[in-house]
């Protein structure tokens, strides 16, 4: 087994979860209604918790301890896709991002549940229940807002159009793609993207929304190799503020 390929895979999954978890947690106390505020915050915590589990796997492969890895790297050392680091803006965007990302996340972990890297397969099975809720939440909201009022449909559609180029960045191929596939660790970004598209289409077709032809969408890659938007570093600075003041602080 090639550890470099495996670590690259783990890092990008973990960084996606940590950064999106942090972004979504920015809604805590500001959500559109109390119950949704709780639900969205809770899922943000799930994402951060899942990233901790992934960083712990990385630690067992010789990487730094989870706090150090999460709080001390610079932006260009993060492997998350650009989609998850974009600032929140309005709630429709956060919901659409949540939907597009989560659909990929769930399929990724479905594929990983049969990974030849046993600890990862175990973890994939462990978080299945959490991800089922995230899916239920995301799909229900998209169905609801994608077919209720003129304004809600227009807002979700606009956010969908805006987000898709960034969502394509989720599937940026790894330089180790073939090794991962051949060793049975992961089925690869191409397989993931195909299944993702089928699922996204299925949900969008249940609404009054329209999914643009993906061939006309120019993907935004770069995140997987550390090329990020100007929005990531400020997020990291804010997230690691306490850690930088006092690395021994517990909270």
């Amino acid at each position: 087994m090639n550890n470099i390929a495996l670590k690259e895979l783990l890092y990008k999954i973990a960084d996606d979860q940590l950064i999106l978890g942090h972004r979504n947690s920015e809604w805590t106390g500001m959500g559109p209604l109390l119950e949704e505020d709780i639900a969205f915050s809770s899922m943000a915590q799930d994402k951060v918790g899942q990233s901790l589990a992934m960083y712990t796997l990385l630690h067992s492969l010789g990487e730094g301890d989870p706090d150090t890895v999460a709080f001390t790297r610079r932006g260009n050392q993060f492997h998350n896709c650009v989609l998850v680091e974009l600032p929140n803006g309005e709630y429709d965007f956060s919901l659409v991002r949540h939907f597009l990302f989560n659909t990929a996340e769930v399929i990724r972990f479905e594929l990983l549940s049969t990974s030849s890297y046993e600890p990862l397969a175990q973890l994939a099975k462990k978080i299945r229940g959490e991800l089922r809720y995230h899916t239920l939440h995301a799909n229900t909201w998209i169905r609801q807002l994608g077919s209720s009022t003129e304004e809600s449909i227009a807002r979700i559609q606009a956010s969908l159009n805006f987000s898709l180029p960034f969502a394509m960045g989720i599937f940026e191929a790894s330089p180790h793609e073939n090794e991962l596939i051949e060793s049975g660790v992961f089925a690869g970004e191409k397989a993931l993207k195909q299944r993702w598209l089928a699922k996204v289409e299925e949900i969008i077709h249940q609404t009054d929304l329209h999914l643009p032809d993906l061939n006309t969408v120019e993907p935004v890659p770069g995140g997987r190799v550390g090329k990020h938007s100007e929005h990531l570093q400020p997020l990291l600075d804010e997230m690691s503020e306490v850690f930088r003041i006092d690395p021994t602080a517990e909270w």
Partner: protein, 216 residues
């Protein structure tokens, strides 16, 4: 606005004028009743309400609002309008004494869920299911099937088909990562940390107090 919370400072509140007029009185979501099953061998119990635009959204929002911290194996929701509630009795009066027997009514028998409140301030707990032609009829049927004779001060009746149950394939919603101490306020040991902090402050101010004196 200038806040210690950077998220607040980022809000572009100036671009969204706050309307001066109050919103229309009915411009709100309706309420839905949430029932939770704490363990496989325990009955469902009423846990609270959520606001939502429809039954499915209510289910989604109820799941995190009521079961993210505590042990739970299942959950269901129903529109508040679909709950038929008896009055609540005072003292030791059993509510079923107030429900008069009626002869069987004609009509199609439907399935109704029955819930008992055994003490004021407690929760309604599922008592069983009856077949009846309507909610009133269901209370009469419940009186014969589930009346233990005492300690029941209110009855709720819900037609089974109005409930959004947890589907069998959704049961693993509560099969989550077990390491969730961060969801438990006591796990942060906030009180302990505060007293350590206050003590250290006390010490340093004692210390600086001495040096002030020494300077004088």
């Amino acid at each position: 606005m200038n806040s210690l919370d950077p998220r607040v400072n980022r809000l572009s509140t100036n671009t969204y004028p706050v309307p001066n007029e109050p919103t229309a009185p009915l411009d709100q979501f309706g309420t839905f009743e949430v029932f939770v099953q704490p363990k496989g061998d325990k009955p469902f119990q009423h846990e609270g309400i959520v606001h939502a635009p429809n039954l499915e959204m209510a289910y989604v929002l109820a799941k995190e609002a009521f079961t993210r911290r505590f042990v739970c194996v299942s959950l269901y929701v129903v529109d508040t309008a679909n709950v038929a509630a008896s009055p609540i009795t005072e003292g030791d009066v059993n509510i079923y004494q107030r429900i008069e027997d009626r002869s069987d009514q004609p009509g199609e028998k439907l399935s109704y869920e029955i819930y008992h409140l055994t003490r004021r301030g407690k929760q309604h707990v599922h008592a069983g299911t009856v077949q009846a032609v309507n909610a009133q009829d269901a209370m009469v049927k419940a009186k014969h099937q589930f009346n233990s004779g005492k300690g029941i001060c209110s009855v709720w009746v819900i037609q089974t088909k109005n409930i959004r149950f947890t589907l069998p394939e959704e049961k693993d919603l509560w099969n989550t990562l077990p390491e969730k101490k961060f969801r438990d306020a006591s796990a942060y040991k906030g009180g302990d940390k505060l007293s350590v902090f206050l003590q250290s402050k006390q010490k340093s101010s004692d210390h600086s107090g001495h040096s002030d004196n020494a300077d004088q």
